[in-house]
């Protein structure tokens, strides 16, 4: 058995040297953020039904991991829950990868508490800062320290894992400094762990994307957010995020398209056009729990892709970016 199998093994390995190049032409490779994954997955699913000859693969390496592959030219599309960072721009540029930045939806970060929590109906950004800033560690441990009049109950915190784009954006929006917060909270990359944690503790407070709240609305309660002390309290809903009222916790999520792929591979261009199709960009995005962009924005990004305009309108996470701001950004490569 062994000798024959051994020879077989060698023959088998030799046969691999024949790589089929034609296959690469009809495959569209996307990778990146797990937050954007459901949107791209939904688009890919519908697109493949209409175009069975084109194959789309979607990976989940995280925004940073996705950009690493993208800037090596391994993927055609990079999913990102935050804009491309300066270091990543540099790596891409050095490798000669030109990219087209396309915001595809909005995500409303939702602050949640246990349903039995009657006191924290609304919180101001200043109060969130007080709770989450690094100086709060070990000090702000009781609800009555957050606001006078809150009950004497321990404050139990849950939040996104510190390697996620969600954590970066939330800290930038509340604490005021990206990637900086107290360390004594339960952090998890898996949002379902956070859902379980907050649903199981009457004194808990946590944050994650709107989709996770909507699917667990029976077990959790969303807190209304006041951008300033005198601003109105806004509920995290699809409508409020879309109209720009829910600030500063609404953030855009993106896809980055390799310009060379979009020009040389018709399959990539066709898929991105499908992605930006007004009907898909509203209905499919809504179906997977995200906030669709307003129609004028979708039109503008369609135009940006048609003109193959490269570069990013961001230098680091910007806070409280309204959709109008997104449209006004000057693109820099």
């Amino acid at each position: 058995m062994s000798f024959k199998a051994f020879i077989g093994g060698i023959a088998f390995s030799a046969s691999l040297l024949t790589v089929n190049a034609a296959m690469a032409q009809t495959i569209v490779a996307a990778d990146g953020s797990s937050t954007v994954f459901p949107v791209t997955e939904a688009m890919a699913e519908e697109f493949q039904k209409a175009n069975p000859d084109i194959k789309i693969t979607v990976g989940m390496s995280g925004t940073g991991g996705g950009f690493k592959k993208f800037c090596r030219g391994e993927t055609d599309i990079s999913n990102a829950s935050r804009p491309i960072k300066a270091e990543e721009q540099k790596v891409c540029k050095e490798a000669g990868i030109e990219y087209i930045e396309l915001p595809v939806a909005l995500d409303a970060l939702t602050v949640i508490v246990h349903p039995s929590n009657t006191w924290a109906e609304q919180l101001t950004v200043a109060e969130l800062k007080k709770i989450w800033e690094p100086e709060a560690q070990g000090k702000i441990t009781n609800w009555n320290q957050v606001r006078a009049g809150f009950p004497d109950k321990p404050l139990v915190l849950f939040g996104a894992g510190i390697d996620s784009g969600t954590y970066d954006y939330f800290t930038a929006a509340t604490v005021g400094k990206e990637h900086s917060s107290r360390g004594d909270f339960t952090a998890s990359e898996d949002d379902n762990v956070l859902v379980q944690g907050v649903a199981g503790d009457p004194n808990a407070l946590g944050f994650f994307g709107l989709a996770y709240f909507e699917h667990n609305a029976d077990k959790l309660k969303a807190v209304k957010i006041k951008a300033k002390d005198d601003a109105p309290a806004v509920e995290p809903t699809v409508e409020n995020a879309r109209s720009g009222k829910y600030q500063p916790l609404s953030r855009p999520i993106f896809i980055y398209v390799n310009k060379k792929s979009a020009t040389e591979k018709p399959a990539v261009a066709k898929f991105v056009e499908f992605y930006l199709n007004t009907k898909n960009a509203i209905e499919l995005v809504k179906e997977v729990g995200y906030v669709p962009l307003p129609e004028n924005a979708i039109e503008a990004f369609k135009q940006r892709f048609a003109n193959r305009e490269i570069g990013t309108g961001f230098t680091g996470s910007k806070i409280g970016v309204s959709v109008d701001d997104l449209l006004k950004e000057q693109l820099v490569y």
Binding site: M1, S2, F3, A5, F6, G8, G9, F12, S13, S15, L16, T18, V19, N20, M23, I27, A29, D31, S34, F37, P38, T40, E41, A42, A44, E45, Q48, K55, I56, T57, V58, G59, M60, S61, K69, D190, D191, N192, V195, A211, Y212, E214, H215, N216, L284, E287, V288, G289
Partner: protein, 315 residues
């Protein structure tokens, strides 16, 4: 030692009659058996609880559609076709690579290698490799196969990575199996005038097959559930197509294109579904876990049956 102490010891020795010694030995035996039984029961309860929990959550979800549909954004329509096909193909490549290589290496080390420091070094390394965490193999594969050799994130690379992972297990099992063969068989073969290769291929290897098979199956069972190295080399999560068919209608009728196809595997599909917000996906994940368990059991069953057949053939 004082005289008094010796006297005391002798007195104690006399006090312990033969009966008591036997009883004492018996008691410690019973105690050990009880502890062993408790540990066994606890382990089995945990395992059964896990399987039953899976079954309660996922059983209802498993039907023909679940096995023949691609993943979808709607939990009710999603299936694991691409994932189980991917797992099956990756395991096929792993077996084709690891078994011949592992058996050959084991035979060489046991039968041909001279005992010197190089062989010692190889032996120590092989034993140590069996304990290296799987993610390290993933990193190795990412650096070597994907980035240096530019083989891409394909079924072939995944199979190769898992083959590396289980190679030490198969080598060690082969050596143990070969070592356990009675010397008489070898001597008889030599006595009949067989040379070394004839002895090894005609007598040693057939007699060692049950042991080798066990090692191969332990290795394969480990490989089938591995997620970390496959995620590291960059397996994909959403794949709604199958690799190209290995059989074609034109000459030469077979092709190896499927080896270069992107893929996903059951553990990755499961991992993805668990992290989604919709409860429906969590049910899908449980159902996927059941399928994965079933595939592992099926593989083990096949191996046990094969081993039984071979053993019967030898006697």
């Amino acid at each position: 030692m004082t005289e008094q102490a010796i006297v005391t010891q002798e007195a104690q020795a006399r006090a312990l009659s033969d009966d008591e010694i036997v009883r004492k030995a018996h008691r410690s035996e019973t105690r050990f058996a009880l502890i062993g039984l408790t540990v066994l029961i606890v382990t089995m309860i945990v395992l059964m609880a896990l399987i039953v929990d899976f079954a309660i959550d996922g059983m209802a979800r498993i039907d023909r559609d679940f096995l023949t549909s691609f993943p979808s954004r709607r939990p009710g329509e999603a299936g694991i076709l691409s994932a189980w096909v991917g797992t099956a193909l990756v395991i096929l490549v792993t077996a084709a690579m690891a078994v011949p290589l592992g058996v050959a290496a084991g035979l060489y080390l046991e039968e041909y290698a001279r005992t010197n420091w190089i062989t010692d070094l190889i032996e120590i390394n092989v034993s140590n490799l069996a304990g290296v965490p799987s993610i390290i193999y993933g990193l190795l594969a990412l650096g070597l196969f994907v980035q240096t050799f530019q083989l891409g994130q394909t079924i072939f690379v995944a199979g190769l990575t898992l083959a590396l992972l289980i190679l030490p297990i198969i080598i060690v099992a082969t050596r143990e199996a070969v070592r356990s063969i009675p010397l008489e068989i070898r001597e008889a073969a030599y006595g009949l005038g067989a040379d070394k290769w004839q002895t090894v291929s005609g007598y040693i290897l057939p007699a060692a097959r049950p042991g080798i098979l066990t090692g191969a199956i332990v290795g394969m069972s480990r490989a089938i559930g591995e997620t970390a190295p496959i995620i590291t080399i960059g397996a994909l999560t959403f794949i709604a197509f199958l690799p190209p068919s290995p059989i074609q209608s034109t000459f030469p009728y077979v092709n190896a294109d499927w080896l270069n196809s992107p893929f996903t595997v059951l553990p990755i599909q499961m991992f993805n579904w668990i992290s989604r917000p919709q409860a429906g996906f969590h049910v899908n994940a449980a159902a996927t876990g059941l399928i994965l368990l079933a595939m592992t059991l099926l593989m083990n069953g096949l191996a046990i049956w094969l081993r039984y057949k071979i053993r019967k053939g030898i006697r």
